[in-house]
């Protein structure tokens, strides 16, 4: 069909035709049957489509209807069910409640009516309990715990509903009201409360207490009085209650989860919080463990006199003693009671021992220092430290091992065996009693191994001296430091990888080993006496005793009641545990196999923790030692380099001087003179200028010798000119000094001179920002001042310096690359083949890195120093070793 006609039909059906169009269309319809049929067809489709839409509407309504109907239906079901159930339950309950309530009331009133109360005139409280375990609290706060089966009915455990009658007479008024006395036979008692408890089955049958289970009663008291006991009240014929069959009280330990308990030494967490240290339990455990062997192990620099600025002698590279060059720089402390003594060489490999003994001044001793330290080398990096104690008459040192060495840096040294007494002890009289000891003098010996070459060995020596007459004991402590031990000449035991068991070798008697604490602080030990608030309290006290055995008393006796262990500890000599024993806290029931498992586990855990710890520590130690070795090697190389450079320097300079003089004298040097001795300075008397020209043939070799002598730093230029032939203008030197302001801003400062005319360069001697040297007047020098600090490199450059005094106010900070470049540039800006400066640079860079390493080590040490007295409570009291000066900045 023609679309136009279709459109026309459509418009006709939709009533969109104008009147005229419509009339014309209808006219056509009347004439054209085909059109009519088309119209009908169209109309039918039109209607059918409309009908389909209507059907769709009906179906949608149907869908919605069914959906809603379903929801409504199902929710009604639920609701009905719920309602019915609720009503059922409620009505049953109500019925039961009513019945029960009535029964209970009846029972109570019956009891009251019959005056069935053990304590007269005291209002009883009633608790109605179902069969489950129950804890109830009386009005005054007495806690009753009634486990299932706590009562017996006709001799059999009863576990039905029950009623508890509870009476208490705590204050005097109640006691009097009840007509109670506090007599036990003829003894007057001090009471902290009288109580009566009866239990009844719902039918009124009295229940007996099951002795196997019991009812636990906890009474709040203001103070725990020692020796409180539980008495049984017996009504006598005269109506008076007599108290009989006293029994010890035990309190149930208050169980807690291991993760909620705190077994660290008191103040440990507080201090870490104060220092804003990591808060994780894992980290804190790990830190705590890391102190495992430290009571004997002072890594930090010990400070001889409290209050003084930290002596950085050991740790700070600037001041590390160079045993080859500057032994004289190591001054003993200037305190009055110190000494500097020079021991004889014990053998060739021990160059010099510079030892300082302090704080030994006391009338007890023959000498003002009292202890004479010395060292014998064994080889293999091992040596003996010998400590000779000299005593006045009337004083003794006992052979009881009260002597010991502490404060040894166990990162660097290992003690082999204990402190031995070389002499065998004699019987001496102490306060009239014979004891084993020493008089006049005693020598102690300690074998030590150094992990790597060390310039110093420091320790504290503790020993006790007894007064014969009074028996009084005086403890002494000395800080000994041995300086200048070139262990590098010994074979390096360390590099062969033989760090032996430096940790397990130390007996830890005087503190609670962290590993022993961490080993039980595990969920495995939940539900033991250790996982209780009561033990948490004891642990604080255990830390204070510093006696490992006290802790062991608890960890070994998991099956015992706490108070028994408390008593045991009191017997071990800790009266402060009496207070705990008085609390009479009982035990936690454990079946034996379980307990044995736990004990085995505990023992295993301690050794496992220690092993792991040792592994970690050894690793860190190895790294530190490797670093130190590297540093040491570089420094040794540097010393060698300096020596070579100095010699090259003087050779070159001598040559330069010689050539200068030769140039003056023409092509063939003809002069010469004799040097009669080796004195650094030529004596003008021996070389009268007038005789010179006549008597001495000036030869080249002589001239060379002159120029050589001239380069010696001690040579005085004016003198030299006096013995030189008048025609010869002797090369002259002028003094030169550099003074660096703010020297202390840098860890290390050095002044280099790069002469233009010779290959080598010079480093000026000096310290404290003052450097001095000489300049050859005929040479041009470039000056380079280098400062090294932890945060980088600093430079000052100046070309063409001549003598005099130079003050430098400021060094420019440069990067490492820039630093290298500029030093190289300055070095290259000279002859064709200047002496290589590369090694020197490498060393300087390493020194710079070393600052950070050393600072971190010192910070770590300072942090540990802060924590150590907290971890090891007893060490704090021992005094000065632990009185570390807080780490300040080096200046």
């Amino acid at each position: 069909m023609n679309p136009e006609i279709t459109q026309l039909i459509e418009r006709y059906l939709l009533n969109e035709l104008s009147q005229a169009e419509r009339q014309s269309f209808e006219l056509q319809l009347a004439e054209n049957d085909q059109l009519l049929q088309e119209l009908i067809l169209h109309k039918q489709v039109h209607e059918a489509a409309k009908r389909a839409a209507q059907r769709d509407l009906v179906q949608q309504t149907a869908k919605r209807y069914h959906f809603r109907k379903n929801v409504v239906t199902s929710s009604i079901v639920v609701l009905v069910v719920a309602t019915v159930t609720a009503i059922t339950l409620w009505s049953t309950n109500r019925k039961n409640d009513l019945q029960q309530e009535r029964a209970k009331q009846a029972l109570v009133s019956q009891l009251e009516a019959d005056k069935h109360t053990p304590l007269e005139n005291i209002v009883a409280e009633y608790f109605h309990l179902n069969q489950q375990d129950t804890v109830v609290l009386s009005k005054t706060g007495v806690l009753l715990s009634i486990p299932d089966g706590a009562f017996l009915l006709n001799g059999k455990p009863y576990s039905g509903p029950k009623m508890i009658q509870w009476q208490e007479a705590i204050n005097a008024a109640d006691i009097v009201k009840a007509g109670l006395s506090t007599f036990a036979g003829e003894h007057l008692l001090e009471t902290q409360g009288m109580f009566a408890l009866q239990a009844f089955a719902p039918d009124g049958t009295k229940l007996g207490v099951n002795p196997e289970v019991g009812v636990y009663v906890q009474v709040p008291v203001d103070e725990i009085k020692e020796g409180m006991m539980l008495f049984e009240g017996k009504k006598m014929k005269n109506g008076i209650v007599d108290w009989q069959n006293p029994e010890q009280l035990t309190k149930l330990p208050q169980l807690a989860d291991m993760k909620d308990l705190d077994f660290y030494p008191p103040g440990y967490e507080a201090k870490l919080n104060e220092l804003k240290w990591k808060t994780g339990k894992k980290e804190r455990d790990s830190l705590y463990l890391s102190f495992e062997d430290e009571p004997e192990d002072v890594i930090a620099v010990t400070v001889p006199n409290a209050g003084r600025q930290m002596d950085v002698q050991v740790s700070f590279p600037e001041l590390i003693v160079d045993p080859l060059r500057t032994t004289s720089n190591v001054k003993a402390d200037t305190a009055e009671n110190s000494l500097q003594l020079r021991l004889n060489k014990l053998n060739d490999s021990l160059a010099l021992i510079n030892s300082v003994a302090k704080d030994f001044s006391n009338s007890v001793f023959e000498t003002h220092y009292g202890v004479n330290p010395s060292v014998t080398l064994i080889g293999n990096n091992q040596f003996y430290v010998l400590l000779e104690v000299r005593l006045l008459k009337g004083y003794h040192v006992l052979s009881n091992k009260e002597q010991k060495l502490v404060g040894i840096d166990l990162n660097r040294f290992r003690l082999i065996g204990g402190l031995e007494e070389i002499d065998s002890p004699k019987t001496v009289m102490l306060k009239g009693k014979p004891v084993l000891g020493f008089e006049k003098q005693v020598v102690f010996r300690q074998k030590v191994e150094a992990y790597l070459p060390q310039p110093t060995f420091g320790f504290n020596f503790l020993y006790s001296v007894y007064d014969d007459g009074t028996g009084e004991k005086v403890q002494y402590r000395g800080n000994v430091s041995l300086v200048g031990m070139p262990f590098e000449q010994l074979s390096s035991a360390y590099s062969k990888g033989t760090i032996s068991d430096s940790i397990s070798g130390i007996e830890t008697k005087e503190h609670i080993p962290p590993s022993a604490v961490i080993a039980f602080w595990k969920p495995k030990f939940n539900n033991t006496i250790l996982a209780t608030r009561d033990f948490e309290k004891r642990m604080k006290a255990i830390h204070a005793t510093c006696d490992k055995k006290v802790l062991e008393a608890y960890t070994d006796n998991l099956n015992k009641p706490l108070y028994k262990i408390d008593e045991q500890v009191v017997e071990m000599g800790y009266p402060e545990f009496r207070e705990f024993a008085a609390e009479r806290v009982g035990g936690v029931e454990l079946d034996n196999p379980h307990m044995n498992n736990l004990r085995q586990y505990y023992e295993g855990a301690v050794s496992k923790i220690r092993k792991e710890l040792k592994k970690d520590r050894d690793f860190v130690r190895r790294q530190e030692i490797a670093w130190d070795n590297r540093m040491q090697r570089l420094r040794t190389e540097e010393w060698g380099r300096t020596a070579r450079r100095q010699s090259q320097n003087s050779t070159e300079e001598a040559r330069f001087n010689y050539e200068a003089m030769v140039r003056q004298l023409g092509k063939k040097p003809q002069i010469g003179f004799t040097i009669f001795n080796n004195a650094p300075v030529f004596n003008c008397d021996q070389f009268a200028p007038t005789r010179y020209a006549q008597r001495v043939t000036w030869k080249g070799s002589r001239l060379r010798q002159l120029s050589k002598e001239l380069t010696k730093p001690q040579a005085l230029p004016s003198m030299a000119s006096m013995y030189a032939p008048p025609a010869l203008k002797v090369p002259e030197y002028k003094s030169f000094s550099v003074s660096l302001k703010n020297n202390t801003d840098y860890g290390k400062t050095m002044v280099y001179l790069f002469p233009k005319q010779i290959k080598s360069f010079q480093r000026l001697e000096g310290s404290g920002g003052q450097f001095s040297g000489r300049l050859n007047k005929d040479m041009q020098y470039d000056l380079l001042v280098v400062g090294i600090a932890e945060n980088g490199f600093y430079l000052y450059e100046e070309t063409g310096v001549d003598g005099g005094q130079k003050t430098i106010n400021h060094l420019e900070q440069v990067s490492e690359a820039e630093f290298n470049r500029r030093v190289e540039a300055m070095n290259a800006n000279r002859l064709d083949k200047p002496m290589a400066v590369f090694d020197e640079l490498e060393w300087l860079v390493k020194e710079q890195q070393n600052y950070k390493v050393q600072r971190l080590r010192m910070e770590k040490a300072a942090f540990r120093n802060k924590m150590r007295p907290i971890v090891f409570q007893c060490l704090k009291e021992q005094g000065s070793v632990w009185d570390m000066v807080e780490l300040n900045s080096p200046q």
């Binding site: 489709v45 489509a49 409309k50 389909a52 309504t61 209807y65």
Partner: protein, 184 residues
């Protein structure tokens, strides 16, 4: 458009109200021997008829819509069961006479065509329903059924219409159509 929507809403409300009577109709049809599945079809057909009847300008409802629908259901079921040869001894009661027999016959025919239209594609069905049934304009239809614009929709409508006409003119529907065509 608004008017149409209002009309639709009105129809919806009426349908909702009537559908709530479904359980009653169901019971009624069951009593006439109608199965549950057939019953709902019959009921829905009756509702369609009711709506369509309401649209007739000369239609005047003399009874409650519910009774009208119920009677329609009865008549429809009567017709259907007769066709299915399940002739039962119902006597046509007087209320059947309320139905306009002529209109009803015509309606039956349109229903046949309506069923034939379900053979069209879904898009065609929707398009024709929206246009003829709900009176939407071509722009809205195009948007609704996802055609690019009203011109495309219009062309599509033409095609659908032609197809529908072909269906209606197919041999199986022809006798009924002829019957209708004989009438005017």
């Amino acid at each position: 458009m608004e008017k149409i929507l209002n009309k639709t809403n009105l129809q919806e409300t009426q349908l909702k109200a009537l559908y709530k009577k479904w359980p009653e109709i169901k019971r009624f049809l069951k009593s006439l021997g109608c199965t549950k599945n057939d019953a709902e079809d019959v009921f829905q057909e009756a509702l369609v008829i009711y709506i369509r009847k309401c649209e007739q300008p000369d239609f005047v409802l003399t009874v409650e819509p519910f009774f009208y629908v119920r009677n329609t259901c009865k008549l429809l079921w009567y017709n259907q069961s007769r066709k299915q040869g399940k002739q039962q001894t119902y006597s046509l009661e007087t209320d059947v006479a309320q139905l306009d027999d002529d209109w009803f016959k015509k309606e039956t025919q349109i229903r046949t065509i309506e069923q034939a239209l379900t053979k069209l594609g879904e898009q065609c069905q929707e398009l024709l329903q929206l246009f003829y049934g709900l009176g939407w304009n071509m722009v809205d239809i195009a948007a609704k059924i996802g055609l690019r614009n009203d011109k495309v929709a219009k062309a599509q409508k033409y095609r659908c219409l032609q197809k529908a006409k072909e269906l209606v003119q197919s041999p199986e529907l022809q006798p009924n159509v002829e019957l209708e065509l004989q009438k005017p």
